[in-house]
Amino acid sequence: MARIIGALTSSHIPSIGNAISNGKQQDAYWKRFFDGYQPVLQWLDAQQPDVAIVLYNDHGLNFFLNNLPTFAVGAAQEYITKDEGWGLPVFPAYHGYPEMSWHLIESLIEQEFDIAMCQEMAMDHAFINPMRLFWPNENPPKIKTIPVAINTVQFPLPRPARCFALGKAIGHAVASWPTDEKVVVIGTGGMSHQLDGERAGFINKKFDEMCMEALLNDPERLARYSALDLVREAGAQGAEIIMWLAARGALLGNVSKIHSSYHIPISNTAAGVLAMANQ
């Protein structure tokens, strides 16, 4: 059976992509942020996972309000990237793994998650930037990917508890996949930030620190928040922490911390990375 070896959760701020493209990793503004990923890169290098299941939120590139899924699972041979409207560069397509996608889809439907199935899907910065952060030397990396999109565009958002349960269901699905492949689960978004409204610029360091701690040791605590609570505590877009919670849910074993890093601000956002091993 396949094994989930850990979860990597990371911010996906658009400007990260520009910094990478322009080689600014060692500039004063960026150094501390990028250095925070080094221990995770070393862990990935040692582990060499075969598959990445990426829990991310589309920002209005692949999905529109005419058919907006709460949870969507990719089942494509490859995942293209596309212009998001800001002239971000378009990259070669990421490798898919449709056979395992279908296994995941079948298992999730059996576990009564009412997912949308996507045999074609364009990835935005929320998928691309964490991939570029975790695999800085190849684009696309060799790893096979399965994107799982969670709605953060339109309220009602899924309940955080439901996102956590989705992660658990993904954990069960992977455990019943017959190869011995190594799977890493990635959750992207957050941490606290708010782009819109008179409250724009809101950041909540204390809450972010609680999240990091709770994700490691007491994820149910975070799962008890409502989506509205998350908006209040983490800012309107800070609610993206539900992807971290979903990724954490997939770790059904003993969880230990590989590394974490936290930095205020990158762009308008409290940027964080947390890597957890699953034994």
Binding site: F64, E84, G85, W86, P156, G201, P265
Partner: protein, 117 residues
């Protein structure tokens, strides 16, 4: 809609994009979604008002668009994820958006962000 209506008032300075806002803003957001295409961005930039009319925007919405007034864009049903594609056409960063919405200069807005470290 009860829960939604309540939640609109729940967090000061925050416009929850719920069903009520979605109904208001559908055409505006549809227009902004079209800006994923470079070709559409060019067409819009050449004749912004004509482009708005093609998407059946209300007068209020058209004014908010041509003024690039973010708070008003939110109030007339815009969703920030789609609106960012509109403001991106004019090179506005999320710091520019934050500064405008909070009535600060860019430097003041950046200082506010850093003050929370």
């Amino acid at each position: 809609m009860n829960a939604a209506t309540v939640s609109q008032q729940a967090i000061p300075g925050t416009y929850l994009f719920d069903g009520r806002m979605a109904m208001k803003g559908y055409n505006l957001n549809r227009m902004c979604y079209s800006f994923n295409s470079a070709d559409n961005r060019k067409k819009f930039k050449a004749f912004p008002e004509a482009y708005c009319h093609a998407y059946h925007l209300t007068r209020e919405q058209i004014h908010a668009v041509t003024d690039l007034d973010v708070l008003r864009l939110l109030q007339v049903g815009g969703n920030i994820y789609y609106l960012a594609k509109l403001t991106g056409i004019y090179g506005m960063t999320v710091q520019d958006l934050g500064a405008q919405q909070t009535g600060r200069s860019i430097d003041e807005f950046r200082a506010r962000l850093e003050s929370q470290a």
